[in-house]
């Protein structure tokens, strides 16, 4: 029972981190209709900056620097690359992010190699006991901090002018342009947000008990794909739900590997995709995705 509870808590914590990654992914898609294949390398770059800066300037400043760099990378991607492609050519833009991803991954592979860079977060190495549960402090902090972050984001989207513009342009880009919303600013902000959210999630992923920043974090971030699809690709609430579902299911399956041996070893990694395909057979636009209607 304790073990199940422990797994659940770990799963929720991982799921919240997935939710952050997925949110950035989905916000970009909503604002610009671009599938950002470079999202995982945004995450790795941000957290790499944190880890390589923290020995000299301390964790707090390094975290801010990492967020800033990833945000700027998002901005640069939008301003320098995507804005030069026809807005309606979503394929070209998606492939462009593939190219960007290749370059970023190559550079990060060159710099990181096999090494593990310590993240240096103040909560690293700490374990808390909550009743019968023994949990890394990271898990507890994630469960507290991520909902606050998501709440803040929701407030931003619902209460501010930018949020309104964002939602309007997502609902109907042409209409929004007609009423004077500057689409470019909205999409630039979306890309910056994606970088920030990815880095925030990356800090969580690289924290104790994970030994630090290494290349394998990028492959973890790929889980945002099925999470986004399960939730529905154009739904922010769906992104959060999808992230949580993937996190919890992954941890539960991996934690019960022995009794699930018929699924084969390492089933935790693929179960997210199984869930995804089942969800899609049931609802072709994900749990919360809006149906596309073809109008002729």
């Amino acid at each position: 029972m304790t073990r199940l509870l422990e797994l659940l808590v770990n799963g929720v914590s991982l799921g919240l981190l997935y939710a952050l990654i997925t949110l950035g992914f989905v916000i970009v898609f909503k604002a610009t209709r671009v599938v950002n294949f470079a999202h995982a390398s945004f995450l790795l770059l941000g957290v790499y900056v944190v880890a390589s800066a923290q020995p000299s300037i301390g964790f707090g400043a390094a975290a801010l620097l990492g967020l800033a760099v990833a945000g700027l990378l998002g901005l640069a991607t939008e301003r320098l690359l995507l804005s030069r492609v026809d807005r309606r050519n979503h394929h070209a833009m998606a492939i462009l992010t593939i190219g960007l991803n290749v370059v970023l991954t190559a550079e990060l592979t060159r710099r990181l190699g096999e090494s593990v860079l310590p993240l240096g977060a103040p909560w690293d190495g700490h374990v808390v006991k909550l009743g019968p549960l023994t949990l890394p402090l990271t898990v507890v902090l994630t469960i507290v901090a991520v909902p606050v972050l998501i709440g803040g984001l929701t407030a931003l989207l619902t209460l501010t002018g930018w949020g309104l513009a964002m939602r309007a342009s997502i609902a109907d880009a042409e209409g929004a342009a007609l009423v004077g919303i500057r689409l470019r600013r909205v999409s630039a902000t979306a890309w910056v947000l994606a970088g920030l959210l990815a880095t925030a999630a990356g800090i969580g992923l690289a924290s104790f008990p994970s030994p630090g920043v290494s290349l394998s974090i990028e492959s973890v971030a790929i889980a945002a794909f099925p999470a986004a699809i399960i939730g529905g690709f154009d739904s922010l609430g769906g992104a959060i739900a999808g992230g949580l579902i993937v996190g919890v299911v992954q941890v539960l399956v991996a934690g019960n590997q022995d009794s699930l041996s018929f699924l084969g070893l390492g089933a935790g990694d693929v179960v997210a995709y199984l869930v995804m395909i089942v969800v899609l057979l049931w609802r072709p636009s994900g749990l919360f995705g809006s149906k596309e209607f073809s109008r002729v």
């Binding site: 149906k291 209607f293 109008r295 002729v296």
Partner: protein
């Protein structure tokens, strides 16, 4: 083969509770040209889409001669000889005009993947290409056959769609605003093409159009829709004088164009 008779019997269509068509009834006699008019949002396009099986009806029946086509799939209805054009032009913009027209021969040809892969579809293709060239000549697109469709002028695109519908060798031709966006001369020309095609190819024609000049000059009968209901039906001259029609549609120019009705955004 003689042109078919189309009977629409108490057809209703609802989108998540919103009634787009409400027990619509009318009959199109074989070989006639039948216009459906009405203000924006009246349900005209929805009606055409139910005829083609694109929107599933929520009630009523649609008969093509004695065949009930109410719940048939769109491609099955096309296979029965129903050709159509679309309100907002539907072509493959990167393909040549000839290729776009050849798609119209899909139902009349049979070369499948395997046959085509093994060079077995060529003879069939050549035979049909001849007929397609004739049709292109008929609508005046001969000179454009090798052009990329996306680069055509608007008027040519409209003719391309019309020609492609003819390439199906239809018995029933459905036209959704065939002259919208054309100038008066082009509109008149296309109207005459419809009449010629009807005669030469033995067609029954149903069309939706806002251009009253064209409607009055080519339609044999007119059905008027408003809010998804038939509000009037008759000969052009009768409809023109019908007080309900005048108030609902023709005589009320100040009526707001963009009505927030079901047809706009079917959800």
């Amino acid at each position: 083969m003689s042109p078919p008779r189309l009977a629409v019997e108490e057809v209703s269509l609802a989108f998540s509770g919103l009634l787009a068509l409400d027990e619509v009834c009318f009959t199109v006699e074989p070989g006639t040209v039948h216009a459906v008019i009405g203000p924006n949002g009246a349900g005209k396009s929805s009606l055409l889409n139910t005829l083609c099986g694109i929107y599933p009806v929520t009630g009523g029946r649609i008969l093509l001669d004695e065949h009930e086509v109410t719940r048939l799939r769109t491609d099955r209805i096309a296979a029965l000889g129903v050709g159509r054009t679309f309100q907002n032009i539907v072509v493959s913009p990167q393909e040549s005009v000839l290729d776009n027209l050849m798609v119209g021969r899909h139902r009349l040809t049979s070369a499948g993947l395997v046959a085509t892969a093994l060079w077995l579809g060529r003879r069939e293709q050549r035979r049909h290409e001849e007929r397609v060239r004739e049709i292109a000549h008929f609508v005046g697109l001969s000179a454009r056959l090798d052009s990329t469709a996306g680069l055509l002028a608007y008027g040519d695109l409209k003719r391309l769609e019309f020609a492609r519908a003819l390439c199906l060798e239809p018995r029933l031709l459905i036209l959704d605003e065939p002259v919208a966006g054309l100038n008066a001369a082009e509109s008149w020309e296309l109207g005459q093409l419809v009449l010629t095609a009807r005669k030469a190819l033995d067609l029954t024609v149903v069309f939706v159009e806002h251009d009253m000049g064209v409607v009055m000059s080519i339609a044999d009968r007119i059905t008027v829709l408003d809010f998804g209901r038939v509000v009037a039906e008759g000969l052009p001259a009768e409809v023109r004088r019908d007080p309900i029609v005048v108030s609902a549609y023709l005589g009320a120019p100040d009526r707001p164009e963009a009505t927030p009705q079901a047809e706009r955004t079917p959800q």
